[in-house]
C-alpha cells in the first residue's frame, strides 16, 4: 500500500479512476497514517471511509482530503484552533468543502492551525503546536501548519487551507510543498470561519503544482451564498508549460533588499536558493529584472490594521450565547462575556482584537483603519503598474526557513515579519503561489510567484515549468 501513498494526488486519482486501486483501500491506508500522526497535524481524523464512498467514475474518485480546521464540516468538529470553539460541530458544510466532496473527495481529517488563522507558526493553536516533518524541533509555519505538515509528511495526499496574509504560502514554503492563494473571490468563503473577511481565501496545499491545479479546479466558482465570490473567467486547467519563453519576471526591490536593516532581511541561504531558481527561470527563457512596489514596505503595517479591525468584528460572535464555550456561573451578562472570551481566546487573538478595536475607535478610525485602506489601494495600484511590464512578481516566500519552536513566540513583531513578502498580494487581492526552490541547511525554501487577478492558469503554468526545472521532491529530499 505504501507505494500508492508515494503517488501524487493527481497520479492517485488516475489510478483510482483506472480501478487499479480501490478508494476504500487507499482511504484506509491514509487514515491509518493520519490516526498515527505524531506531528499534531490533525485535530480530528475520520473513523473510517465514508459509506458509500465515491466511485471511480467521480472526478476525484474518492481520494482522501485533509481540511483545515476552520472550514465548517457538518457534524464534525470545526474549532478553528480555538478553545472557544472546542467541540463545536457546525450544522452545515463550507461551500468549498462541499464542492470537493461533490467532486468525489473524501474527508480524511481536520488539520491543526493557529487559532482563528492568526499566526505564522501554528504555535497559537489551542490544541498544541504542529511539528515540522523536516525537523520536529521546528515549526511548520502557519496558520495552515497542520495542512502543510500533513501533506509534507505524506499523511494526507493533499489538503486545503486558507491564506489571509500568507497562511497557505508560508507554511507550504517551510514544509517544502506547493501552496496557492487564489485571486480574492475565486473560492467561496461561505463556511470558512472568518479571520479577516476582505483578505481570507481558501486554496490548495499539495505536493506539486499539478496537484494544486487539480485541487483548485474543484474549489473555484461563484457561490450565491458569498456575494464577494466571482466566477473565474476560464476553468482552471492542468498546467503543461515546458518553458518560460517570453515571460518577464519582476523582483520588487522593496521586498528583497530594503528591509534588511530593520530585521526583515532575507536569510543568505534563502537568498541563494531564490537566485538559483531565477537562474533556472532564465534558462527556461524568462527575463528577470527588478521592479518597484513603492508602497510594499507599508504593506505589513496596513495589514496589521485591516486584518485585526475586521477580526475584531468577526470574532464578536464568540460570546457564549449560542454556541461554543460559555463561562458563566451566576454572572450577569457582561461578566459572562468577559469570562467566556477571557478564557476562550488565546493571547494572540486577544492582542489582535484589541488592536482592531482600537483601530476602529471613534477618533482613531481615519488615522489607522482609514489610512491603512489608502495604503491598500496604493499597493494594488503598484501591482497594476508592475503587471503592465511584467508577467509575474517573484520573491522568496518567507525571509527564512523553518525556525525553532518557541523562537519567536515572545516577540509578536518578529513573528509578523514572516509575512513580509506574502502580505502585499492579499492586500491587492491577487493570486500567488509558493513552490519549493530547494533546501537551505537541510530545510526547504519557498519561491513565490504572484500574478494579476485571475491569472491562475498562467501562474500555474509558469510554476509548473519552473518546478520541473528545479526538480525538487519533498519526499525524496527528506529520505535522502
Amino acid at each position: 500500500m505504501s507505494a500508492w501513498i508515494e503517488l501524487t494526488a493527481a497520479e492517485a486519482v488516475a489510478k483510482l479512476r483506472a480501478r487499479e486501486v480501490g478508494a476504500r483501500e487507499l482511504f484506509e491506508a491514509y487514515r491509518e497514517r493520519a490516526a498515527a500522526d505524531d506531528l499534531n497535524a490533525y485535530t480530528w481524523v475520520a473513523d473510517g471511509a465514508p459509506d458509500p464512498i465515491p466511485g471511480p467514475d467521480t472526478r476525484l474518485a474518492g481520494l482522501p482530503l485533509a481540511v483545515k480546521d476552520l472550514f465548517c464540516t457538518i457534524g464534525i468538529p470545526s474549532q478553528a484552533g480555538s478553545k472557544i470553539l472546542k467541540g463545536y460541530r457546525p450544522p452545515y458544510t463550507a461551500t468549498v468543502v462541499d464542492k470537493l466532496l461533490t467532486a468525489g473527495a473524501t474527508l480524511l481529517g481536520k488539520t491543526n492551525q493557529d487559532e482563528f488563522a492568526m499566526g505564522s507558526s501554528t504555535e497559537n493553536s489551542a490544541f498544541g503546536p504542529v511539528l515540522n516533518p523536516w525537523d520536529r524541533r521546528r515549526v511548520p509555519g502557519g496558520s495552515s501548519g497542520g495542512s502543510a505538515a500533513a501533506v509534507a509528511a505524506g499523511i494526507a495526499p493533499w489538503a486545503i487551507g486558507t491564506d489571509t496574509g500568507g497562511s497557505i504560502r508560508q507554511p507550504a514554503a517551510l514544509c517544502g510543498i506547493v501552496g496557492l492563494k487564489p485571486t480574492y473571490g475565486a473560492c467561496s468563503r461561505y463556511g470558512m470561519i472568518a479571520f479577516a473577511s476582505s483578505l481570507d481565501q481558501a486554496g490548495p496545499l499539495t505536493r506539486d503544482v499539478t496537484d494544486a491545479a487539480l485541487l483548485l479546479s474543484h474549489m473555484v466558482g461563484h457561490d450565491p451564498r458569498d456575494s464577494t465570490s466571482i466566477a473565474m473567467p476560464e476553468p482552471i486547467t492542468v498546467p503543461t508549460a515546458e518553458d518560460l519563453n517570453g515571460i518577464r519576471l519582476g523582483i520588487p526591490e522593496e521586498l528583497l533588499g530594503g528591509g534588511a536593516e530593520d530585521g526583515t532581511g532575507i536569510e543568505p541561504g534563502v537568498r541563494a536558493s531564490f537566485e538559483a531558481a531565477l537562474k533556472l527561470a532564465e534558462g527556461l527563457g524568462a527575463t528577470v529584472d527588478t521592479c518597484r512596489l513603492p508602497h510594499a514596505p507599508h504593506a505589513l503595517s496596513a495589514y496589521y490594521l485591516i486584518a485585526p479591525a475586521e477580526a475584531s468584528a468577526n470574532l464578536a460572535r464568540y460570546d457564549g450565547v449560542r454556541f461554543g464555550l460559555r463561562v458563566a456561573g451566576d454572572a450577569d451578562l457582561e461578566t459572562m462575556y468577559g469570562r467566556t472570551r477571557g478564557e476562550g481566546f488565546g493571547p494572540e487573538v486577544k492582542r489582535r482584537i484589541m488592536l482592531g478595536t482600537y483601530a476602529l475607535s471613534s477618533g482613531y478610525y481615519d488615522a489607522y483603519y482609514g489610512a491603512a485602506q489608502k495604503v491598500r489601494t496604493k499597493i494594488a495600484e503598484d501591482f497594476a503598474a508592475v503587471f503592465s511590464e511584467f508577467h509575474f512578481v517573484v520573491t522568496p516566500t518567507s525571509p527564512w526557513t523553518a525556525f525553532e519552536l518557541g523562537a519567536k513566540t515572545d516577540d509578536p513583531l518578529a513573528m509578523y515579519l514572516n509575512d513580509f513578502c506574502t502580505v502585499p498580494m492579499p492586500l491587492a487581492g491577487i493570486p500567488a503561489i509558493s513552490i519549493p526552490s530547494g533546501l537551505s541547511d537541510g530545510l526547504p525554501v519557498g519561491f513565490q510567484l504572484a500574478g494579476p487577478a485571475f491569472s491562475e492558469n498562467r501562474l500555474l503554468d509558469a510554476a509548473y515549468a519552473l518546478e520541473r526545472a528545479i526538480g525538487f521532491d519533498a519526499r525524496e529530499a527528506r529520505s535522502a
Binding site: 461561505y190 475586521e310 454556541f323
Partner: protein, 475 residues
C-alpha cells in the same frame, strides 16, 4: 404663547414585508413558535455570510422614490458593532455614511435619509422585572433577527407633538400604499423615535436634543413628545440646561427615564461590511421600483381636491385610509348620477355604520350601490333622511338601493296632491306657527316642516315642503 418653540425630528424604523430576511433565506414571521425561522446566517454561526435581499432593496427604492429622495447609484453597508444577545454577530449590518437614499420630502417635512439595515432578535426576560436587570434569566428568539428594516430619518422640521403625529400618519399610509410594510405599531412593524429640543421662539439655533425611544403607538408618540417638551420647557424656564441623553417613555406612568447620557454613548466602530459588495442600483432596478410606486396619498388628496372638487379635509380623510379612497373611486367608476362631491359625502355615513376600522370593500354595500344611492338622493328621488335609512338597510342586507326604496315605500313624495294634503294637515294642526309664518316670522316654519316630514316618514323633499308651505301661506 410659550417663549420656547419645540423642534422635533423623527427616526422611523419600518419592517419590510419581504418574503425572506434581509441577508438570508429564512421566512419572515410574526407570532410563530420561537427560533423556527433561523439558519447559520441569521444565527451568526461561524463561517456564515450575508447576501443582500434584492426585494428589500427594491422596497427601499420604492420608499425613496415616494419620498422624492435622491437614490445613490452606489451605497455601502457597514458593520455597527455592539455586544448584546439580540445581535448574534456582535454587529448589526446597517448603512452608515453612504445610504441608499438621501433627501426628500413628505407632507412639508424634509427627509434627511433613508437606509437599509437588519432587525435584531427579540429578548424575553423571564422573571419579575421584565427587563434584563433583575430577571432570572433571559431567552432569545431569533425569528425576528435579520428582518429587513428601512430607517427613515426626517429633518427637524416638526414644531409640535400633533404635527409629529400627523406626519407619522401620512408616512404610514404612504408606506402602506407602497405595499412595502404592514406598518403596524402594535406588532412593531412601524417604530418611531423622536429627537426633541426647544429653542427661544424665533431663534434659528438648535437647542440640545434628547432622543425618545419606545413610543410604540401614535398616542404614546404624541404624549411622549408633549411630556418631553414640557420637561425641557420647565427645565430651561428654571434656568437649567437640557442634557443630551436617550430617554425611555413609560406610557403607563407617563414618565421619561434616562437610558444613557452622551458620555455613555456607544462607540459603534462603524466600518464598511467586507462581506458585502457595494450596493449598486441599476437603471433596471430603478425602473422596476418606479413601476411599482402607485399614486401616493399626498398626490391623491390633491387630485381629489383639484380635479373632483372634494374639499381638502374630506380628501385627506379619504386618502389617509387608502381603502376609503379606493372605495370612493370604485363608487365613482360605477357611473351613477351623483357627482364626486355627493358620493364623497356618503363615505363617512357608511363608515359610521360599518364601524370606523372596517374596510367598506368588505361590507355588504357595493360601491355601485352607494353610488346609486347618492344618485337617488342627488336627483331628489329619495330625500336625504330617507337615504340614510336606505343606507342602514344596505349595510344590513346589501342589495340595490332602488329596490329597497321601492319595497319600503321610501321614494320622495313627488305626487303633488299627497304632499299638498300633508302640508294642509300640518298648517291645520299648528295654526299658531302658520300665522307667524304668514306674518313674516320665518323661524316658525321649522315646526311646520318637521310635522310634514314626520307624517311622510322623511320621504318628502325638504325644499319642496318649504316651497309648498310658503306658497300656501302667501296666497
Amino acid at each position: 404663547m410659550s417663549a420656547y418653540e419645540p423642534v422635533i425630528g423623527l427616526e422611523i424604523h419600518v419592517q419590510l414585508k419581504t418574503r425572506t430576511k434581509m441577508f438570508c433565506g429564512c421566512e419572515l414571521s410574526f407570532g410563530d413558535p420561537p427560533n423556527i425561522h433561523t439558519c447559520p446566517v441569521c444565527l451568526g454561526l461561524p463561517g456564515a455570510l450575508p447576501v443582500t435581499n434584492a426585494r428589500a432593496v427594491e422596497f427601499a427604492l420604492r420608499i425613496g422614490l415616494a419620498l422624492g429622495s435622491e437614490v445613490a447609484p452606489r451605497s455601502l453597508f457597514h458593520r455597527k458593532n455592539y455586544f448584546y444577545p439580540d445581535s448574534p454577530k456582535g454587529y448589526q449590518i446597517s448603512q452608515y455614511d453612504v445610504p441608499i437614499c438621501l433627501g426628500g420630502e413628505l407632507g412639508g417635512v424634509r427627509i434627511h435619509r433613508v437606509h437599509l439595515e437588519e432587525d435584531a432578535a427579540k429578548l424575553v426576560h423571564v422573571g419579575q422585572s421584565g427587563r434584563i436587570h433583575g430577571s432570572d434569566r433571559s431567552v432569545v428568539d431569533y425569528n425576528r433577527c435579520g428582518t429587513p428594516l428601512v430607517e427613515i430619518v426626517t429633518e427637524p422640521d416638526l414644531g409640535s407633538a400633533e404635527q409629529a403625529h400627523e406626519f407619522l400618519t401620512l408616512l404610514r399610509v404612504t408606506l402602506r400604499q407602497l405595499g412595502v410594510s404592514d406598518v403596524n405599531m402594535d406588532e412593531g412593524s412601524l417604530r418611531c423615535d423622536a429627537n426633541v429640543s426647544i429653542r427661544r421662539a424665533g431663534s434659528d439655533t438648535l437647542g440640545t436634543k434628547t432622543e425618545l425611544k419606545n413610543m410604540n403607538s401614535f398616542r404614546f408618540l404624541e404624549r411622549g413628545v408633549r411630556a418631553e417638551i414640557e420637561r425641557q420647557t420647565e427645565l430651561l424656564g428654571a434656568g437649567g440646561v437640557v442634557l443630551q441623553e436617550t430617554l425611555h417613555y413609560d406610557p403607563v406612568s407617563g414618565r421619561l427615564t434616562s437610558l444613557r447620557s452622551k458620555e455613555e454613548a456607544h462607540d459603534y466602530r462603524y466600518f464598511p461590511e467586507p462581506d458585502l459588495m457595494p450596493l449598486v442600483v441599476t437603471e433596471e432596478m430603478l425602473a422596476a421600483a418606479r413601476a411599482a410606486v402607485p399614486e401616493l396619498p399626498a398626490a391623491r388628496a390633491l387630485r381629489f381636491e383639484h380635479e373632483l372638487g372634494v374639499n381638502a379635509g374630506r380628501a385627506r380623510e379619504l386618502v389617509f385610509r387608502s381603502e376609503l379612497a379606493d372605495y370612493f373611486e370604485a363608487a365613482l367608476a360605477a357611473d351613477g348620477e351623483a357627482g364626486p362631491v355627493e358620493v364623497s359625502n356618503w363615505i363617512p355615513q357608511l363608515v359610521e355604520r360599518i364601524g370606523s376600522d372596517a374596510d367598506p370593500a368588505t361590507s355588504r354595500v357595493a360601491p355601485a350601490a352607494l353610488a346609486a344611492l347618492a344618485g337617488l338622493v342627488a336627483s331628489k328621488r329619495v330625500s336625504r333622511d330617507a337615504g340614510r335609512d336606505v343606507l342602514t338597510m344596505l349595510v344590513a342586507e346589501g342589495g340595490d338601493p332602488a329596490t329597497i326604496v321601492e319595497r319600503e315605500g321610501l321614494g320622495t313624495l313627488d305626487d303633488g296632491d299627497e304632499l299638498a294634503a300633508a302640508v294642509d294637515r300640518a298648517l291645520a294642526a299648528d295654526p299658531d306657527a302658520a300665522e307667524k309664518v304668514r306674518t313674516g316670522n320665518m323661524k316658525a316654519i321649522g315646526a311646520l316642516i318637521g310635522r310634514v316630514m314626520r307624517e311622510t316618514k322623511g320621504r318628502a323633499d325638504g325644499a319642496e315642503v318649504t316651497r309648498l308651505i310658503r306658497k300656501r301661506l302667501q296666497s
